[in-house]
């Protein structure tokens, strides 16, 4: 018995060898830059020559910087636009495609829609950004269509208006994100035992009830994974803002990543940029840990059920 345990342990430690390449990559690409960034955040640095240590000065400035707090508020908005709304929409669409379209019109039709919804994920973000720029600019396609259909009163300066800009960006993010969660939900639905639906139907459950009492509980693991990954993506969002609005108009779409980039590369206040990035990372890690903790508790509860 003892020998078995020992050999098992030996085998186990041998696995570490295989983890090495990944670990080296992690240390080089994530670990070291991460620590360097924390180090730089305590300095004043113009990007060349030696940084000067200034202690917590950058952080003191950060907590009083209105632009930073504004960017955090915008982050909350992006969590709604990238995590909450697309997840709800794709959950509904996935179940319609799976339950109704695929049953009524066949598997092919449902695959066609799935691919269509996924398309935005394949487009490079810079291309999508330029396309949306054409659609949303004041003389763009959207306003032309509104004018031509007699809805001219609705046409707006979508990306240039102080209050509208962030909603326009949010809409584009929803368009972008649906495909990602949709594909995962559809894979999840394929895993669900059809007998559950049949049983529910025999018990007289309607479509809405089946969705609420069968689909959602069965997809709980997928919902968690998507919630986590899209929330983190929302906290880090950069490219769409960079391509479409540059954080403008007048900082109305400023997000922490762009704010940090701005200080790194435009004002060349590298230490301050690093402080922003560090604060952002801390927030992201804390939220991710909360998420994982909640998920772990939920799975435990599910196991006890």
């Amino acid at each position: 018995m003892a020998t078995v345990t020992k050999s098992y342990r030996q085998n186990n430690s041998a696995y570490w060898l295989y983890l090495f390449p990944g670990l080296i990559g992690f240390v080089l690409v994530v670990g070291i830059p991460f620590l360097m960034n924390i180090g730089i955040s305590f300095t004043k640095w113009r990007g060349i020559r030696m940084p000067t240590f200034i202690g917590l000065e950058n952080y003191e400035r950060l907590i009083t910087d209105g632009a930073f707090w504004m960017s955090l508020q915008h982050t909350l908005f992006f969590v709604v636009a990238m995590a909450v709304v697309p997840t709800i929409i794709s959950l509904i669409v996935a179940s319609v495609l799976f339950d109704y379209v695929s049953a009524r019109f066949g598997q092919q039709m449902s695959s066609f829609f799935r691919a269509g919804y996924y398309l935005p994920q394949i487009l490079p973000i810079s291309v999508a950004g330029v396309l949306w720029g054409w659609i949303l600019n004041p003389h763009g396609v959207l306003n032309l269509i509104l004018d031509a259909t007699g809805l001219g009163a609705l046409s707006s300066n979508w990306l240039g208006d102080q209050t509208l800009a962030i909603y326009s960006l949010g809409f584009v993010m929803v368009w972008l994100q649906i495909g990602y969660s949709l594909v995962i939900f559809m894979a999840g639905l394929a895993r669900v035992d059809p007998a559950l639906y049949e049983a529910a139907e025999l018990d007289g459950a309607g479509a809405a009830q089946r969705f609420w009492y069968v689909t959602i509980p069965m997809l709980r693991p997928e919902i968690f994974v998507i919630g986590l990954t899209t929330t983190i993506a929302a906290l880090k969002v950069f490219a769409p803002v960079y391509v479409m609005t540059n954080g403008g108009p007048d900082n109305a779409t400023l997000v922490p990543s762009f704010f940090s980039y701005y200080h790194f590369f435009s004002t060349v206040r590298i230490g301050y940029g690093a402080a922003i990035a560090t604060a952002q990372t801390a927030i992201t890690i804390v939220l991710a840990l909360i998420f994982l903790w909640v998920q772990a508790r939920q799975t435990e509860e599910a196991a006890h059920d």
Partner: protein
Amino acid sequence: MNRLAKLAVALAATAALSTGAVLAQDKVLKVWHYEPADSALGIAWQAAMDKYRETYPDTDLQFELKTFDQINQAGTMILNSAEAPDVLEYNKGNGTAGLAASQGLLQALDDVYHARGWDKIIAEEALGLGKYDELGVFGSGPLIGIPNYGEFVSVFYNADMLEARGMAVPTTLEEFTAIMDTFVAEGITPIAEAANDYPAQHLMYMLTLKNADADWIANFEGVKQDLDTAPFLAAGQMLVDWVSKGYISTDATGMNADDMTNQFMAGASPFVVGGTWLSTSYGNIEAFTASQFLFPGQKYAPGSTGNMWVVPVNAKNKEAAYDFIEITLSPDVQNIMGNEGGLPIAANSDTVTNPVGKTTTALFGELVSRGGLGYYPDWPVPGFYNEVLQATQAVIGGTATPEEFAARLKAFYDEGRAMM
């Protein structure tokens, strides 16, 4: 022993081979610039590269097209790395070339300038933006950049739209606003503008220069004192006034430079207040005749000698870099630039036949002769470009008052000055 000797020989041979290879690779000239291939500068510099390859067939000229933003935002880091090219187009101004020069990243070119006889091509007076002191402020210090072209902001106009209404090119601001009132009455927005991009800050600075004098410009650009906002405040008020009168649409806040150009090219607006880098493409418009006039009623306009060739201290092949710069200053290349509608710094104006190039060159001559080059708003402190852009966008969009606009510029400027 024998074996060891053989090994040593083999190693030595390998070393020799690899040094040989390194030497051969040394004959590489890396050139970077960021002018679009179909612009006057892009075409002229392509010709310069062809000529270089012909003249120096042993050297492998490697060209990479960058973007303005790439060089504007990551320039110092590139120059500080081993990846720096041998010669590159670099943005003039304290925040860019000045920052790099003050950090010792750029090769001083004073000796080369005299030794190679470039002093006969470009006058010493035109080199102010190529010199930076130890604080990175332009005007004095070692020469680190060689300009190759000029640029200035003027008013492009749709000559057909003006002619159809019997309007002449305005010579005073009152005439100009009267023309714009007529267009507004017809439901046409007179000035196509882009405030989600660089053009709006050029109009803003044009209006700023209306209330500026030589001292103010020297203090502002030289970061000599905290910002005196009076001319900016006046410009902000004028912008608000122009928006309310309909000369500029608030739609501008959602438009970039391409959108603005599309508006002008579609004939939707008769005017663009823009830089000479637009001359070539506006000169090629076939649907109507586009031309340009100097912004009326004031001495100064945004303008300067253009971006410059710089040689990084880390460049591996400096002599080849100088050879290349020399070719871009040659009459052939300079004339090509003029004939493509560009604004060469050393072309013979008699040999420029292209009408756009001729107009641009003539207006530039007029502006220079009255000492009216007012430089650009974004030069003084690093990162000012973005701040000016956002503040201008806000004042045009109506989300900032002229007072808030001026205060915002002052806060950023003064803080940047304190950091110098």
